[in-house]
Amino acid sequence: MAEKVTVEIVTELDIVTARKLGRKQAKQIGFNKVDQARITTAIGELAKNIFQYACEGKIIIERINKEGKKGVSITSIDQGPGIADVQKALEDGESYGAGLSSVKRLVDSMHIFSEEGKGTTVKVEKWLR
């Protein structure tokens, strides 16, 4: 499987496609069943956010390497309404951040770049232990 795959999220079916590709990638990297489920769930939540709040966007799934460690990164990019207050979105999981605070619990790190009215990019990483 390629180092990097991109799935455009337009219909609900694309959420399933993104999950499928994510699970495949996670399996190949060597994640166990539980972590595979977590990565897939995280992808599903991010894709659902795009589908519900931004209408259109994409999910990029990448293999990553750092200091001999292997991992996966998932980036979700949309041109939706954006998040006015990222901290608030993470704190109480309201508005766009419906699943963001819970996604954060499934992965090792999460970064959010958002501009109101322009869109949101969420990047999460999970490392193989």
Binding site: K33, D92, S101
Partner: protein, 331 residues
């Protein structure tokens, strides 16, 4: 983690071979260690599946699939459970905030019932929710005049309470008990019209009592008409007024009327929560209240208020549907 897995396998294996209470108990105690190590529910299932695969050779394929499915479901379940819990926590925070707000409101809107010579005054005001949308304001200069304002904000809960604070300060600013009721309503109307949201209206009945002449002068802005009981005639009069609610239009003029109270006469001022008989069309609410008040007119004003409230609570099956306020002035 590896040790944990090994230990779990041993415990499970023991139980599979001998399903006794002791082995179950050991399994329960194992939970403490799982929690110490921050093991999530989906990991527990994974540990269980692994252990089962080790203990039982040739575990059927479908059992393994079933466990994988359960892991998947539990990840999502854990996620949603956390979201639900944080919602509950937020709800609890709101509840506490609301309680503080209600306490502040109580302090803010606290009013003392005056006790002048020759006049008996009673009052009851019970909010439907935590915050009260009704408000009673008394003013007594300890001389000739005493004034009473009974107010109802159209709406309930927090927005009504916020609006009410403003009405209270408006009334406080007009600090003289001898002000003309019509003047008071005109000033308050101006204040509310300017500063409150378009959808927010206030009804008010404002009365001034002249303790020397026993004359009650009143003015009403869209408020539930007070009931006046004339003892000598043994008859009630509705103190009707067709004037506009406060806060709808600027520069509204209000009129005022006088009545003279004789011994044993009384006036009942109330909010529409008292006459709200939504589910009982067979009743004429005002007639019912008239009869209720008449039946207990031998009591003092406060006891009359409490009694009417109690009777109406029973009638409504202890489910009053609005803020409830009654003031009785008895000569």
């Amino acid at each position: 983690m590896e040790q944990l897995k090994l230990d779990y396998k041993t415990i499970l294996s023991n139980y599979i071979h001998n399903q006794n209470e002791r082995n179950l108990y050991i399994g329960q105690n194992f939970i403490k260690r799982l929690i110490q190590k921050n093991v999530t529910p989906e990991e527990v299932i994974s540990i269980h599946k692994q252990a089962l695969e080790d203990i039982i050779e040739d575990l059927p394929e479908y059992t393994i699939h079933a466990y994988d499915f359960l892991i998947e479901v539990m990840v999502h379940f854990g996620l949603k459970l956390k979201e639900h819990q944080s919602l509950l926590m937020k709800q609890e925070e709101l509840r506490i905030e609301m309680e503080v707000a209600a306490k502040i409101q109580n302090t803010l809107l606290e009013t003392t019932i005056p006790n002048p010579e020759g006049l008996d005054i009673g009052m009851i005001s019970v909010p439907l929710r935590k915050m009260n949308g009704d408000y009673v304001h008394f003013m007594h200069d300890h001389k000739r005049f005493l004034s009473i304002a009974v107010t109802d904000v159209v709406g309930k809960g927090v927005p009504a309470a916020l609006c009410m604070s403003m009405v209270k300060y408006g009334l406080d600013t007009l600090e003289y008990a001898n002000s003309n009721p019509s003047y008071v309503l005109e000033v308050l109307n101006q204040l509310i019209e300017k500063s409150v949201d378009d959808g927010m209206f206030v009804s008010m009945c404002y009365g001034r009592y002249d303790l020397e002449k026993d004359i009650f002068t009143w003015s009403s802005a869209g408020h539930e008409p007070p009931l006046y009981y004339h003892s000598r005639e043994n008859a009630y009069y509705d103190l009707e007024s067709k004037e506009l609610l406060l806060g709808i239009l600027p520069d509204v003029k209000y009129s005022q009327k006088d009545i003279k109270l004789n011994d044993n006469d009384f006036i009942i001022l109330m909010t529409d929560g008292v006459t709200d008989f939504r589910n009982r069309e067979e009743f004429d609410p005002r007639q019912y209240i008239k009869e209720l008040a008449l039946s207990c007119r031998h009591l003092n004003a406060q006891e009359m208020c409490d009694n009417i409230h109690k009777q109406l609570q029973v009638l409504h099956n202890y489910k009053l549907e609005d803020d409830f306020t009654i003031v009785i002035i008895k000569k």
